[in-house]
Amino acid sequence: MLQQRVDGDELTVVGSINAPALDVALLLARETHFRHGEGVNFAVRRRGDDEVHMCPDPTALGGVIDRSYRRQDGYVGVGAKLKRVREELARRGLVIAGRRPPAHAQADG
């Protein structure tokens, strides 16, 4: 399997699959390596051959099921949420004051 990350990039090898036919190889490649829409195109090449078979419809990369999860929209803002919760718990006096590395100083109340 080969991947093109962005327009203009060379195809690079990203893995391999077993498949009995080209269309199955393209299907399996998409499902195992590109279902989250990674890159702009992909291709398969039989091991030992030079001929590269491009995905005929790269616009289908990623599909539509669970899109918000796949685009990480479902978890945008986790860092800010962590900060907010830590501050709230510190204010309530719930933070545990264990000995920790200097880089992980206790959250302020």
Binding site: N18, A21, R70, V85, V95, I96, G98, R99, R100, P101
Partner: protein, 304 residues
């Protein structure tokens, strides 16, 4: 050139930072060690999806159900990618499945335990996936190139799973007293399996995986990295850990921690964990009932 000369040349390549491809010559010991390690990793991805899968029907909202379903799909997908890498080392997928369900090969210790509450799902998504990510990021520097490529594919998805787990954790920790208690209870029950995650302290000099660069960090280095990343965060969330000795030792520059006891770890290794047989039975059932899918894919008639 003798076999010993070829082995020495191969080791020199690894020590010089070169990567090994599937078609390259490799010593038998390297091939066997890489196969065993990657096969167990593949088994663990597939078996690791089962404890979380049990909670898809019981997820507390549609959004959580959707994200958990996607995560389970990802984990099984990681298994498919890794089985393919292992196949190139000389063992068929059917043989790997047969060895797994018959107890001849292993899957990770943390996936042999029951998931009792939604708090367990948060612990798995944040702390166990976090422990796994510490390990998997270290494998990005492994010597076997196909494995490194698989890790480049898998690690970004695992990072996403971590955010999923962190989001669940924050929801419980900032929620009602009952929600906080649920998460605390889950951490109490899972802490020991998490301490077992990296295995018992061992002698790096005798670790064949480290010798060949298939693994790049010792069990203890990985465990210490896990402590530094997650223990302060847990304390900041007001979650206590069931280890009175656990603390950063400034003088030693590392964490002190209590020996958790290893009896139940070895029981799990021997295939006698609390959920081992149930999950293997389920895995076998799925393999059998979905045989038609494999047959359909493998038996497509060639176009004339």
């Amino acid at each position: 050139m003798t076999y010993a000369d070829r082995v020495a040349e191969f080791k020199a390549r690894i020590d010089a930072g070169q990567k090994i491809e599937a078609a390259d010559w490799m010593p038998d010991q390297y091939r066997q060690a890489a196969l065993k390690f990657i096969e167990m990793h593949a088994n663990s991805e597939v078996m690791g999806a089962l404890p979380e899968r049990e909670w898809i029907p019981r997820a507390p909202s549609l959004r959580r159900k959707l994200s958990l379903t996607a995560k389970v799909q990802d984990e099984v997908g990681h298994g498919q990618i890794l089985y393919r890498v292992a196949e190139d080392l000389g063992k068929s997928r059917e043989a790997m499945f047969d060895d797994l369900v018959n107890g001849r090969t292993k899957f990770h210790n943390v996936f042999h335990y029951p998931t009792e509450t939604w708090g367990d799902v948060a612990v798995i998504g944040w702390l166990i996936d976090g422990a796994a990510l510490v390990t998997q990021k270290a494998l990005l520097d492994a010597s076997y190139a196909p494995y490194v490529r698989a890790m480049r594919r898998i690690c970004p998805e695992e990072s996403l799973h971590l955010r999923h787990g962190e989001d669940l954790t924050l929801e419980l920790c900032s929620g009602s007293d009952a929600q906080r208690a649920m998460f605390q209870d889950a951490v109490n029950r899972w802490w020991r399996p998490i301490m077992h995650f990296y295995g018992p302290p061992s002698n790096p000099e005798k670790d064949v995986l480290l010798y060949w660069g298939i693994k790049t960090k010792t069990n203890e280095a990985l465990r210490q990295e896990f402590f530094s990343t997650y223990v302060p965060k847990l304390w900041d969330l007001g979650i206590s850990l069931p280890d009175s000795k656990l603390a950063w030792n400034e003088a030693a520059g590392e964490w002190d921690w209590s020996d958790p006891g290893w009896d139940d770890f070895w029981e799990v290794v021997r295939g006698r964990g609390p959920m081992t047989s149930v999950r293997l039975l389920y895995r076998k059932s799925m393999w059998d009932t979905h045989a038609w899918v494999r047959e359909a894919f493998a038996g497509l008639p060639r176009v004339a």
